[in-house]
């Protein structure tokens, strides 16, 4: 569990990026921070791994104040994925994925074996292992970014708009696979996006921020769709709130149906159901 208690971040130039934030981020779930540009999402995320230090208040991971943990040690235990993937251009894909295991001093063989395993997990062709990042598509690079963050099996993952640089169709499939992966892994994930649809699709809980670094609402997607806390949240959801709501619950039903089908029938049946969910996502 990650907690923010009265956290304020004031940058040296006086900008208040985050204003007395209180937030409890549950373990093993996806929590989405959403809001317009400049509302302090990235800043909040970075206060967790101390890329940014809070001016006031306490950020704690499993009850321990992050300020008491040495930054490199803290960071090696927290996966981090960003929009441009941030891959090392001079290292091959396997070695990129093995970055944190190498830092932790794993045996090279073991680290690379782990990389190969992860490539498979995130749906990367093993043939890409020896390539360099520049030789991969944007979507593939993003998968490498996710694999790299998972390499040392950190309990926490911070993801800053990881899927926003790819086109909508690739994004939808990355989101679907990410959800599937998270189903198995049950990491504590903090996911930043400015796209409310993505927030609704991925979030177990959603924190809606408004400019000035204020938390406008923190609730489940259902609650936010059913009862927006104020006009800001209502506006942010957009005019199609009703449609979003409908679609959200339809998808829940579809997921449940798919789960039942998996239980009852063969894997083929389940596979046949997937494209349905996929196409709903692609329509957006």
């Amino acid at each position: 569990m990650i907690t923010f208690e009265g956290v304020t971040k004031r940058y040296p130039d006086g900008t208040v990026a985050v204003d007395t934030l209180d937030l409890e981020i549950p373990a093993g779930r996806i929590t989405v921070l959403v809001g317009p540009s400049g509302c302090g999402k990235t800043t909040s995320l970075r206060m967790i791994n101390r890329m940014v230090d809070a001016t006031e208040g306490v950020v704690a991971v499993d009850g321990k104040n992050v300020r008491e943990i040495d930054p490199p040690t803290l960071r090696r235990g927290i996966g981090y994925v960003i929009q441009q993937a941030g891959l090392f251009p001079h290292r091959t894909i396997v070695d990129n994925i093995a970055t944190v295991p190498f830092l932790l001093g794993w045996d090279k063989k073991k680290a690379r074996a782990r990389s190969h395993e992860l490539m498979e997990r995130v749906g990367l062709d093993p043939k890409l292992a020896k390539r360099y990042p520049a030789q991969l598509s944007g979507g593939q690079q993003q998968r490498v970014g996710v694999a790299r963050a998972l390499a040392a099996d950190p309990p926490i993952m911070l993801m800053d708009e990881p899927f926003s640089a790819v086109d909508p169709i690739v994004r939808a499939s990355l989101q679907d696979e990410f959800l599937r992966l998270q189903n198995d892994l049950e990491k504590t994930i903090v996911f930043v996006t400015h796209d409310i649809d993505e927030a609704i699709k991925l979030g177990h809980k959603i924190a809606v921020f408004q400019v000035g670094g204020k938390l406008a609402q923190y609730a489940t997607p259902e609650e936010i769709l059913d009862a927006p806390a104020d006009d800001f949240v209502r506006d942010f959801l957009g005019g199609e709130r009703g449609i979003k709501r409908l679609r959200f619950f339809q998808e829940l039903d579809a997921e449940e149906a798919a789960e039942q089908a998996t239980e009852q029938a063969a894997e083929q049946r389940a596979a046949a159901d997937r494209p349905e969910a996929g196409s709903t996502a692609a329509e957006r």
């Binding site: 040690t73 090696r76 944190v100 030789q135 790299r148």
Partner: protein, 240 residues
């Protein structure tokens, strides 16, 4: 050049027998001296430019004054520096090596700073986020990514040093340049031609070797084909 060609009418441009007779003593000796005089400054310059460049990239406000100093140094004519230094270091290799080291610095410090500046910010940030300390990030991430730009500077400095060593012949320490003074003094074009050909060959071979080293050090760059950067470098390298 004009004087060299005008003198000795009737004298052939090249006397092969002179080359054969003087190959071991004169020519090879001069070549060896030329190599020492041009590569020692490269090595020294590199060893100083690397920490200096890293410091300038880390503390940006040091960079403008450092850049100003190195640019002024670069503008000083080599012959003036040689003559001034003779008073302190005498007619020794040191007298040639010091100015060439300064020239090398003035090329390499900006190369190191620019090379480190070519590291994308998101790459640097993600390295930090994964738990690299500053030193490890510099050694394992930033410097390797800076290699192409640094190597570009190294190639320019090398070719320029190889050509500048000859100026040392004016004070009697100039490697292959001494073949020029020898030829001029005796109205005898053969040593001049040999000197020019060997200097060009040396510059060419050195550049190829450095290019090869660069290729070996940066296998990831090959995957993008001949990068734009590399072509630019070849252009400036040729001009220097």
């Amino acid at each position: 050049m004009y004087a060299a060609l005008a003198i000795g009418d009737g004298e052939p441009l090249i006397r092969w027998d002179w080359i054969a007779r003087n190959w071991d003593d004169d020519i090879l000796e001069s070549l060896k001296e030329h190599l020492i005089l041009s590569f020692t400054p490269i090595l020294l310059g590199f060893l100083i430019a690397l920490p200096l460049g890293i410091a300038c990239a880390r503390w940006r406000r040091f960079y403008p004054p450092v850049l100003a100093v190195t640019s002024v140094l670069y503008a000083l004519p080599a012959i003036a520096l040689f003559v001034v230094l003779v008073a302190f270091t005498g007619l020794t290799y040191t007298t040639v090596i010091i100015p060439l080291t300064l020239y090398t610095l003035s090329v390499l410090v900006p190369s190191v700073v620019d090379g480190l500046g070519s590291v994308p910010d998101h790459v640097r940030k993600s390295a930090t986020a994964m738990g690299f300390g500053e030193t490890r990030r510099m050694v394992q991430v930033e410097l390797p990514i800076a290699v192409p730009v640094v190597m570009a500077g190294l190639r320019v400095a090398t070719v320029s040093n190889i050509s500048l060593v000859s100026v040392g012949a004016m004070i009697g320490i100039g490697g292959l340049g001494e073949l020029f003074t020898d030829g001029l003094r005796r109205d005898f074009p053969t040593p001049l031609v040999v000197g020019i050909v060997l200097i060009i060959a040396l510059a060419f071979v050195s550049d190829m070797v450095l290019l090869l080293i660069q290729r070996l050090l940066t296998p990831w760059e090959r995957t993008r084909g001949a990068s734009k950067r590399e072509k630019e470098v070849l252009a400036t390298g040729g001009a220097a």
